[in-house]
């Protein structure tokens, strides 16, 4: 399961670009810094590969086992 901490996000877009299943997208809401942050669009399609977490410069994404796909 992918957990995104919106307040750490700076909207660089790396997680959205490198997600192999393209289940992340930049959302419509802003965090308290005024940045758009990514949202999960397809929980069932996520394979919890953690590439998004690995590429996030801020460590704003945490991935845990479990969720829709297990």
């Amino acid at each position: 399961m992918v957990q995104i901490n919106p307040d750490l996000c700076k909207n660089c877009g790396y997680c959205v670009k490198f997600c192999p299943k393209k289940v992340l997208a930049t959302g419509q809401n802003r965090n308290r810094r005024g940045q758009f942050y990514p949202v999960m669009t397809d929980e069932a399609g996520c394979i919890t590969c953690a590439v998004c977490a690995m590429m996030c410069p801020e460590g704003a994404i945490e991935v845990t086992e479990g969720g829709a796909n297990t």
């Binding site: 790396y14 670009k17 490198f18 919890t48 590439v51 690995m54 590429m55 410069p57 801020e58 460590g59």
Partner: protein, 245 residues
Amino acid sequence: MAEYKRSTQIADAPSGYCPGCLHSLATRLISDVLDELGQGDNSLNVISVGCSALNILYWNNDFLSVAHGRAPAAATGIKRTNPERLVFAYQGDGDLAAIGLAEIMSAANRGENFTVIFANNQTYGMTGGQMAPTTLIGQKTTTTVYGRDPQTTGYPMKMCELISTLEAPVYVARFALNSPKGVREAKAGIKKAFQAQLDGKGFTFVELLTNCPTNWHMTPLQTLDYMNMNTIPYFKPGVYKDKTE
């Protein structure tokens, strides 16, 4: 299936770096490696001058902030007096390849038992994007407005190649942080360097190719493509020396 948990070595707040800056990714990688090795409390980060100094507000463990370019000299003293600690210097290219060239080459030549992490973004980020020794030929900066001309400013310095010619260093490697593959390799490389230090092998040097969206005047995603097209063909990633076995 994979899991990722944010390290406690870094502050529970956004870093001081610009959006998309791979410096913060490099910092995060180091903190993850320290977690994996269980060396967080035993580590000492020697922070240099430049954007790397933003770690002062971000790093939860012991650190020492030193004069411009002198991180390897300070790390030498710390490591010699505290041989059990995991000491690493975190330096940028303006700090390491320009003003600190004598310190890094001397420390490497002596084979001091610490690690240098070198973040190479081909510009002086903090002072406003001036030309660094590693700036690519033709790359525009605020001091090379028509692009770097080798006739007047010389050629980009390849620090990994330079240091790997010395006898003493045991591990010299370069990784690019602009792809998941590169990040994975970089993490393994940093871990290997730290492990070699803990085993008392000698001097280890890891160069990380990073970006500077602000001073390259690009979006973060554009910088990754720029690195693929320009940086990586010149600064070739790879392991240049490995005597850790």
